[in-house]
Every structure is written in structure tokens, then in C-alpha cells.
Amino acid sequence: MDASFLAKEYARQLLTQMRKGFLVYCVLLICSKGEVYSTDIIRQLHRADLIVVEGTIYPLLSRLQKDGVLVHSWHESEKGPPRKYYRLSDEGKMILQELKISSAQMQSAIDAIEKE
């Protein structure tokens, strides 16, 4: 087996793990700014160069809502049926705060290690 292939495969597995939490964090950040529709979320992620397909988002939003992190409300739409708009719940806001602190710590840890 090619050595670089193995390396890439290993990195891919690690990244899959990292991406999971990272994605959730980004979604929470987006939802903290107000009520957003699923396409808004995806558009913002695209703008941040995070390519995801909608298929990834819908189960995630559903899960987060079931866990009580997000809440949704129905908005009427002229183009079709009513739409679900998501925003952070109170608990979700607290969780996001925790994540912000932790990620800042992680970032400074990485910086410190890189400087060594």
C-alpha cells in the first residue's frame, strides 16, 4: 500500500471525527444570530467555505431540536407551505457559551504548542 494513501486515510478518519463537533458548533453559532431557515444555514456555511449538503443538515437540525438545543417556529411563506425557522433555545445559548470558552481555550493551546 502506498504510504501517502495510508496517511490520507488516517487523516480522513480523524477529520471525520473532528468535523462532527465542528459542524454542530458552526450551526449553533449561525442559529444564535436569530431565526434562520435551513437554507440560510447552508448558505452561511458555504460562505465560510464549509461545504455540506443539505442531507447532512436536516438530520442534525432534527437531532438538536430533539435534544432541546434548538427550537423552531413556523413562518408563513408565499411560495409554498409554512417553513420551520430555527433559533437557539435558552439551554442552547448556555451550551454555545460553554463551547465558545472551550474552543478559545483549545485555540490558545494549539497556538502555544505551535510556538514551542
Binding site: G55, P59, D67, G68, V69, K79, K84, G92
Partner: protein, 537 residues
């Protein structure tokens, strides 16, 4: 060109080509198969609501025709069915492992029983009952409880409390838990807890001092110190009751010791380091208590059954070398372990001793030869069956010997033993000769002429008996209490400046008609001035 059907997607009506319909249906079914079952319906609903928007953005309005290329575009936009799987993004689902905590919210003492109950899904009352019952087996339940109290962590955060019950930790469950728990923390268990804590603190100081006492007592029992003089009388059958009481008291103190450990636990709950040292101290304490109590109980068990009041009379052989000549003198040549009671009856000579169950036959020699009845028993040493190693091997236990024979005229007790005669008519003359710390008791008896010669620290108690005439010789180290008599002639040392441990050498209980000391008749005043004599009349 193709056939079309009318369908609705998310309640929006469309026309769709056959091929596209099959493809779209399969796509949606594939997506559903990759979803978590508990959110599948919701997600499918969202997706179906989304599709009309995607179509509208690509010029397929309501009632428009969906073709194969539209489906391809939808698939591209939404993603492959595998990408809907939450293996890509997962949060905690499924059963969470349970962790064993102490449940301090529904605790009576430390929440150990509640925590265990939650972990195994049984009522805490059963756990408490188990602890209580096993405490009666050498305190196992109580000791285990305190150990767990020290070792198990407290369920402090809401997340801990959920883990304790095995529920997954999500925002929803946390919210639900918080609101339900607020109601359940009642005042009842808290009050009881505070009360118990107060009692524990009160006892903790006493408990620490008692630890030292327990250690010393345990050492005393274990080392056999209690079998030597002056503790030996305690082991002499009748005194074992006191030993039992003492050991029961020790057992009660074990409870106090446990409470001390609880106090250490309560004080030490802040820092982890203090916890460890508290645990070490507590462990040492338990070991000491358990060791002392068990040893004490073992020893008591052994002795109460063997040397308690279960003594029985066993015969001793009397060698009568001159049967034609009945004895008129008794010579007790035995050490301080011998307690001889001479019983005057008209039976042939025979003897018996009180045997301790389990001990061997003592070496006591009784010989009647040419009128002298000699009882020989050297320093009486019995070998006990081994208990606690070599501690019990050699025990010096007092032996009570009964000797039955005719009335005697001479009693010689010269080797430290104890000779007792009770309730007897001693005849016309009795000479009592005691020496070398011997003790002779003449109780409730009568003799016409009694002679008492006491020397070298010996004692003669004749105060309860009666004699017509009494003759007493006492030295500075001995003590005689004279019988009630009509004529007493005493030979005393001239000075009693340094009396022995008994304050006087001669005690007189009645007023004899004739009293001479050292050949001199005495008046009452002279008698009272004589420091060698005590009068009680």
C-alpha cells in the same frame, strides 16, 4: 416525452414522469433508511417541504412537471442518502452507561444506600435493610457502609445525577430532571441528616480518646498480661463475668469508633488528599477494633466454657501408708495456688479437687503416714490446651482441693497455700502453725484450746470461731485475728513502730476475761495503747 402522474410532495401538487417518480421514491426511501428512527418522520417532513422550493428555484412551479434531470439536481443538492446518516454527525444516543454515585439528595446518612439502589434499580430501603442486618455480623454492614461513604463520589451536578440513573445526558433530560428534582428534595431527610451529624460530632471527641483505651485493652488481653497476677483472679472462674462485661463494653465502643470515622469523613470531604489520609486512619482504626474485639471474644469464649463455673469435682488419691494410725496432724506443703478445705467427718480419708474442664490432672500428692497427713503440691502449673499460640500454655490457676478426714490436732500450713476449716468441732486442742505467707481460715468452729503460731508474713483468720483458751504468737510480719475466747495469752513483738501492711498484728473481737501480752496481764487502757493490737469490743 413520457407519461406523467399527479403527486404531491410536502402537500404541494406536481406532475411527475414515471421514471422520475420511481427514482425519487427510491431516493426518499433510501434517505429514510439512513435516518435515526426517532427523528425519521420529522426529517422526512422537512425534506419533503424543501423539495418544492428546490424545484421552484429551477423553474418547476406548483403543478409543473418533474423530470429525471430535476431529480438528479435534487439529489445533488440534498446529497446522497448515506450523507443523511448520523454516523456523519452523531450526538449521544442509545443507552448511556450507568455510574455508581452517592445520591445525597435522597440520603439519610451519606446516600450510599440510595446510590446503590439507583445503580441496581432496586429500592433503597432494601439496601438499607441489608446494611443494617449485616452489621450484626461483626459489624460488616456498618464498616462497608462507611468505606463506601469515603470512596464513592457524590452526585453533585445534574449530569452526575442523570448518569447515576442511567439516563442520557441531553438538554431535554436535564431540563426535565431539574424541574422534577426541585419538588422532591424534602425537609424530612435533611432534618434527620442534620440530627445525626450533630450526634456524631458530639461523640467524635470521646471516640478519639476511647481509641487509645481500646488499643491498650486489646494489647493487654492479647499479650496474656491479664493472666498474671494481679489480673489472675479475674480469670478464676467467678471473675469471668467481669471480663465478659468488659468485652461487651468494648463491642459497644466499636460503634462509637465507627462514628468517629464518619466524622473524619464529614470533615475530610473537601480535599481529596485529606480523604486519603482519613481513609488510612479509618482503616487502621477498624483493624484495631476488629482485632481487639475478635481476640477478646475468642479468649472469653475459650475461658468461659473451660474455666468458668463449669468446674466439677474429681477424685484425688489419698495414699494411706499406715491405715492403723489415723492422722492427727495436717501438713499443707503447697504453693499459693492451692486452696485446701479440710472437712471433718467420720468417713475414711478421701480427697477431691475442682477440675477445670480441659485441663490436665494437677500433681497433688496426699499421703497419710504415721499420723501425719501431708498434702504436697508444688507450684501448681497446668498446661492448657493451646489457645492463641503459646499465651495459654502455662496457666497458674488456683486449685480448690477438698480433703475429708478425722479431727486433727495440728495444722501446719507452711508453704504459702490456703487452708480452710469451716463449721467444725475441732476437739480439745488445735495447734495452728503458719509460715511463709500462708493463710489459714478457721471459720465458725469450736475448739477448747487453740494455739496459733504465725510467722513470715502469714495470716490466720479465726475471728468467727470460739475457743476456751487461746495462745497466740505473732511476729512483725504476720497477722492473727483471735477467736472469741475467755483467756487469751499473746506473744507479740515489743514494738510495733513499723507495722506490716495490716495495721495491727493481733485483732481481738471479744473481751476475754483473762488477757496477757508477753506474760503481762493487760488492762483495757494498756490494750488500747498497744499499737500491735486492734480491739473491736
Amino acid at each position: 416525452m413520457d407519461n406523467i402522474e399527479k403527486v404531491h410532495i410536502g402537500k404541494v401538487p406536481f406532475n411527475i414522469e414515471n421514471r422520475a417518480k420511481t427514482e425519487l421514491k427510491k431516493y426518499l426511501a433510501d434517505i429514510r433508511s439512513h435516518l435515526d428512527t426517532d427523528t425519521a418522520d420529522e426529517v422526512m417532513h422537512d425534506i419533503e417541504a424543501r423539495i418544492p422550493e428546490l424545484l421552484a428555484a429551477h423553474h418547476v412551479p406548483q403543478d409543473g412537471v418533474i423530470t429525471h434531470s430535476d431529480v438528479v439536481r435534487i439529489k445533488k443538492q440534498l446529497g446522497e442518502p448515506e450523507q443523511f446518516s448520523t454516523d456523519h454527525i452523531s450526538t449521544e444516543t442509545g443507552s448511556t452507561p450507568k455510574k455508581l454515585f452517592r445520591d445525597t439528595d435522597s440520603a439519610i446518612l451519606g446516600g450510599v444506600a440510595s446510590g446503590i439502589g439507583k445503580y441496581f434499580n432496586i429500592d433503597a430501603a432494601f439496601v438499607r435493610a441489608a446494611f443494617f442486618v449485616t452489621t450484626f455480623f461483626y459489624g460488616f454492614g456498618a464498616i462497608l457502609y462507611v468505606f463506601l461513604w469515603v470512596l464513592l463520589p457524590e452526585a453533585k451536578t445534574s449530569a452526575d445525577k442523570l448518569l447515576m440513573s442511567g439516563r442520557p445526558v441531553t438538554v431535554a433530560t436535564l431540563q426535565h430532571y431539574r424541574s422534577s428534582v426541585q419538588k422532591s428534595i424534602g425537609g424530612g431527610s435533611m432534618f434527620l441528616r442534620h440530627l445525626i451529624l450533630k450526634v456524631v460530632r458530639l461523640l467524635s471527641f470521646a471516640g478519639t480518646a476511647i481509641t487509645a483505651l481500646l488499643l491498650l485493652t486489646g494489647i493487654g488481653i492479647f499479650s496474656g498480661l491479664f493472666y498474671t497476677y494481679p489480673f489472675r483472679p479475674i480469670v478464676d472462674g467467678y471473675g469471668v463475668d467481669y471480663l465478659l462485661f468488659g468485652l461487651l463494653w468494648l463491642g459497644c465502643l466499636c460503634v462509637i469508633g465507627l462514628l468517629v470515622m464518619l466524622t473524619i469523613r464529614i470533615w475530610g470531604h473537601r480535599s481529596r488528599r485529606l480523604n486519603m489520609s482519613a481513609l488510612a486512619v479509618a482503616s487502621l482504626f477498624i483493624l484495631t477494633i476488629a482485632g481487639a474485639c475478635t481476640a477478646s471474644l475468642l479468649v472469653y469464649n475459650h475461658f468461659s466454657s473451660k474455666y468458668g463455673n463449669n468446674k466439677s469435682l474429681h477424685a484425688l488419691s489419698v495414699v494411706n501408708q499406715t491405715p492403723a494410725t489415723p492422722p492427727t496432724a495436717l501438713l499443707l506443703n503447697a504453693g499459693s495456688d492451692i486452696n485446701l478445705t479440710y472437712v471433718i467427718n467420720n468417713q475414711p480419708l478421701h480427697a477431691a479437687y475442682e477440675a477445670y474442664p480441659g485441663l490436665g490432672r494437677p500433681s497433688i500428692n496426699i499421703v497419710s503416714n504415721k499420723g501425719v497427713l501431708t498434702v504436697n503440691a508444688d507450684h501448681l502449673e497446668q498446661t492448657a490446651p493451646s489457645c492463641l499460640g503459646d499465651i495459654c500454655k502455662k496457666i497458674y490457676l488456683p486449685i480448690h482441693v477438698f480433703l475429708y478426714g478425722p479431727a486433727l490436732q495440728t495444722l501446719n500450713n507452711t508453704n504459702g497455700g490456703m487452708l480452710t476449716i469451716n463449721n467444725s468441732d475441732l476437739g480439745s486442742t488445735v495447734i495452728v502453725h503458719t509460715a511463709n505467707s500462708s493463710t489459714t481460715n478457721i471459720n465458725n468452729s469450736y475448739v477448747t484450746n487453740m494455739s496459733i503460731i504465725a510467722s513470715s508474713g502469714s495470716v490466720v483468720w479465726a475471728g468467727s470461731s470460739t475457743a476456751q483458751t487461746t495462745h497466740v504468737v505473732v511476729d512483725t510480719t504476720s497477722n492473727v485475728s483471735a477467736p472469741a475466747t475467755t483467756a487469751l495469752d499473746a506473744t507479740l513483738p515489743n514494738t510495733c513502730t513499723s507495722p506490716s501492711i495490716f495495721s495491727t498484728l493481733l485483732s481481738i473481737s471479744n473481751d476475754p476475761q483473762h488477757l496477757t501480752i508477753n506474760g503481762q496481764p493487760q488492762t483495757l487502757e494498756q490494750l488500747q495503747q498497744n499499737s500491735c493490737v486492734a480491739t473491736s469490743f
